[in-house]
Amino acid sequence: MSSPVNDARASSAGDGGAERVRSRGEDSTVTSMTVTELQAALKDGATSVDLTRAYLDRIAADDGTLGAYLHVDPETALETAAAVDAAGRAGTGLAGLPVALKDVVVTEGVPTTSGSKILQGWLPPYDATVAARLKGAGTVLLGKTNMDEFAMGSSTENSAYRVTRNPWNPERIPGGSSGGSSAAVAGGLAPWAIGTDTGGSIRQPAALTGLVGHKPTYGSVSRYGLIAFSSSLDQAGPMARTVLDAALLHEAIGGHDPLDSTSIDVPLPVLAESARRGAAGDLSGLTVGVVRELGGDGHAEGYETGVLARFAEAVALLESLGAEVREVSCPAFDLALPAYYLIAPSEASSNLARFDGVRYGLRVGDDGTRDLDEVMALTREQGFGPEVKRRIILGTYALSSGYYEAYYGQAQKVRTLISRDFNAAFDSADGSRVDVLVSPTTPTVAFPLGARVDDPIAMYAADLCTLPASLAGVPAISVPCGLSDGLPVGLQIMAPALADDRCYRVAAALEAAQDAARGFRFLDQLTRRTADATEGAA
């Protein structure tokens, strides 16, 4: 299945670079390397075209079944890579490294649909800040990844276009809404990818596919050019094979943007360096709070025992690295789900009003027999999928006069209470203060395709653990912490606003300790399994 490096060499005019890539070890095919290894390979003489071609080959071979991408343009990708090579930039910073973007990120001249039929055929005339920064850094866009329509969903099954499968088990969902990005990275179809997270859409798919995924502090990564789902919650962030890779990608996209009024004008904390320091494995002096309401005593209903077991082992590992662990109660977290499902649909009902068929995208029924209102209604009727319609109706109702206070107003109050719980945990002066809070990232491992499509409430429960950090705007990372039933389990680390570096430090410590105990990286289990299966079939 995987594309051997000598494929790449065939196209790189025999400069020997790809050969040196191969010499790095038994698993060092390009598409199973970490980004830091790819950077080293570029410095050693591999070309951006080598790397890009290796990924494009994997996409050509596997994406038919995996369904990670909505749009791939190999020609443009190779041209970009060749230009980076020609400029001698490959290997400096992120230049020459391929990357995938969730299709919610607006890209100039590249189709952008947000997973919806209503944007089919739209060619954006501008770049999102995230896309512009990655372009400026010299990365090579491999393609746009599949997602739940307008990022509404937890399984990517709400995509208007295609099914995305979990590389660990093709009958399972890859998580959502950034499921295309998670499947692409876990499946070796991209070295890393950008996702967006409104209520867990980076962390949940990362957890279910064995990746590291980080939702930054609200306001620390520009939202300019992210097709809005819920403006007060949306954040773009990295999805990667390792903690350090995630930190590097985060540093490339983060920081103040004058085009986004809610962007925070403070310097980004040092992230990659925090990950490197964390990997040294010493957590003494750090206090870790385990959130009771997220899978703890009396709150374990709906959580799989395998997930709770892996979580407990990971917490014990953190303790063994010197961290002090204590249980923390955050009572308002119990209200996060209902509050989220009022706030996010309310904002979405307004954000999605612009899709009326007048200026761009789909237009239905404009045949001269219908008036404007009918054309708008038909366009929206046929352009939006059922989950999007469900949330628009929900949000419209919640904002309507006479109900506003009871729904949107109350939900905002809950949001304040959740923030207070975080503040109490992070800032209390009575000695019960913690540096980070931890929980399982999801209550269960990846569920089977189709299992929850007819039960929205069960689907919504997949975000139970990730919603509090979203509502409070604080940073949270998901890092792999083992397998249950052969499927990945994620641990979530939440930190105070703007302390994203703490997430990376703790996650890197856990990752390093687990890798050391295992003897290889978490995702290598998947690579080996795939290789065995391929050999078995042969």
Partner: protein, 498 residues
């Protein structure tokens, strides 16, 4: 256009009391739009002043224009408003092609300025108009309905939208209902908009051109039975785009609503459109009432929190406001209150001011604009500012009279030439040969002829009735077609006869 039953205006007032309210939109003259960097210049090719933000493209985000916020605060301060220390923008959600995002970014329950007032004078009486709120929002695009007879959406072949105007900062100034205006309600409404326009113009934040739509007015009106305790249902008349229309629309709605109420029917709460040509209103969207805008705080923008020091500085640096300026000018120019009111009503205060600034003594400037020029505007059926003469030309005319080049009578002929587009006063004097005659041979001959032609008058004068000299002066003036200087003629006659 309209088959509305109307009650005679004076009769309306015997049975009903009007309650007016005004919502005025002022397009700010900032260089860029409210939430993006696009230009706001009027009259550009359609859709050339647009970008992802003001087109509402997916993913685009707004950034508030600080100059617009400052202008709004200055308007609020000039109206004596309280300036909010913290407030937010809100989304007003509704579907219409001219709003690119499916919502208008506006302010809802947290306006930037509240609780102000504006005093206006009508016929020597002062009416206090309470200002409920002044808030900041963005303008919509413009729909152009192509084909069909009316240029309106019904019957059009297709519609085009120009988004150049979309996102231009718009300040909405809302009055509280104005009671007690009675028969003067139409004039009070007009005086309010006039005064508001003067203030905004003085602040320099908008060109307030009603004909270009940079100042737009919605007029609310309801009637209550005289002595009744409850106000009736109100209508909101839109498209009221001149001062005169403000007055006419109030008058019309009073007469129409009175007729409806007289028939025992109910007023429908609705939007009505004003028609400039007929002076009537017609029913617009009555479902307006049912529209639920689902306002909520705009999550894409951070709250506005005007710094106290900044607001204090803006308050301290406000220019002299029109009311204060009028008091000062009345004194400087020696105007009576009636004259000042008249000048204001005629929109001629700046004309006088500019004439003075161009060098004319205030008394002369006032005399010309209030006298001869006002009469001509009236005869021509136009507003004073529309006359084809500039304050500079009036000042020049005054200068020519003062220098003795022309007299008042000649000056009127010069004015004829100026109004006819023959050039500046000096040029007209030259081309029409209107300068006062010196003691030329022509004048001497005219004087001698007058003496020779009226021996009886000469006898009277020489017999001691000196005032009879006037008849001879008149004769000379007639022969010279007014070009002679009367005083000179009189002196010449005296030299010859006494």
């Amino acid at each position: 256009m309209s088959a509305d039953k109307l009650v005679d205006y004076d009769e309306v007032l015997t049975r009903y009391e009007p309650l007016i309210g005004l919502e005025t939109h002022v397009e700010l003259g900032t260089a860029s739009k409210m939430f993006c960097g696009c230009s706001t210049v009027f009259g550009a090719e359609p859709n050339t002043q647009t970008c992802p933000v003001c087109l509402g493209l997916p993913g685009a985000l707004p950034v508030a224009n600080e100059a617009a916020i400052e202008a709004t605060i200055r308007i609020g301060l000039a109206l004596g408003c309280r300036i909010a220390t913290w407030c937010r923008f809100a989304r007003k959600n509704y579907f219409y092609p001219d709003i690119p995002k499916g919502f208008q970014t506006s302010q809802y329950d947290e306006p930037l300025c509240t609780a102000g007032h504006l005093d206006v004078e009508v016929d020597g009486e002062t009416y206090r108009v309470e200002i409920e709120r002044v808030h900041l929002e963005e303008d919509t695009g413009k729909n152009l309905h192509v084909g069909g007879a009316t240029g309106r959406i019904h019957g059009a072949d297709h519609s085009l939208v120009d988004y150049n105007r979309a996102g231009i900062p718009l300040v909405e100034i809302v009055t509280r209902p104005i009671p007690g205006a009675g028969a003067k309600a139409p004039e009070v409404a007009r005086a309010y908009v006039t005064e508001l326009r003067e203030i905004v113009k003085t602040l320099g934040v908008s060109d307030v051109k009603m004909e270009q739509g940079s100042l737009r007015c919605d007029v609310n009106l309801s009637l209550a039975p005289v002595g009744g305790l409850e106000w009736g249902t109100r209508t909101e008349t839109k498209n009221v785009n001149s001062l005169r229309s403000v007055e006419r629309s109030v008058r019309y709605e009073m007469r129409r609503q009175a007729a409806v109420l007289d028939d025992g029917l109910r007023i429908v709460q609705e939007t009505r459109h004003f028609h400039e040509d007929t002076g009537s209103t017609s029913s617009g969207r009555s479902k307006e009432e049912a529209t639920d805008y689902r306002y909520f705080p705009e999550p894409d923008l951070v709250p506005l929190a005007p710094d106290e020091e900044w607001v204090a500085k803006l308050a301290a640096t406000l220019p002299e406001l029109p009311a204060a300026r009028r008091v000062r000018l009345s004194e400087e120019w020696g105007l009576s209150a009636t004259e000042m009111a008249w000048l204001l009503n005629a929109g001629a205060l700046d004309l006088v001011g500019d004439t003075v600034a161009a060098g004319a003594p205030p008394a002369d400037a006032r005399k010309w604009w209030l006298g001869e020029l006002a009469r001509r505007a009236n005869d021509a059926g136009v507003e004073l500012p529309e006359l084809a003469v500039t304050p500079g030309q009036v000042a020049e005319l005054v200068g020519l009279v003062a220098a003795g080049t022309i007299n008042d009578q000649l000056a009127r002929q010069v004015l004829d030439g100026v109004l006819a587009g023959e050039g500046d006063p000096a040029a007209v004097v030259e081309s029409r040969g209107l300068a006062v005659m010196g003691e030329s041979d022509e004048l001497v001959a005219a004087v001698d002829a007058a003496i020779a032609g009226a021996p009886d008058v000469v006898a009277k004068v020489q017999g001691g009735k000196v005032q009879a000299l006037g008849a001879l002066v008149g004769a000379v003036m007639k022969t010279t077609r007014g070009k002679a200087d009367a005083a000179t003629v009189k002196r010449m006659l005296e030299e010859r006869l006494l």
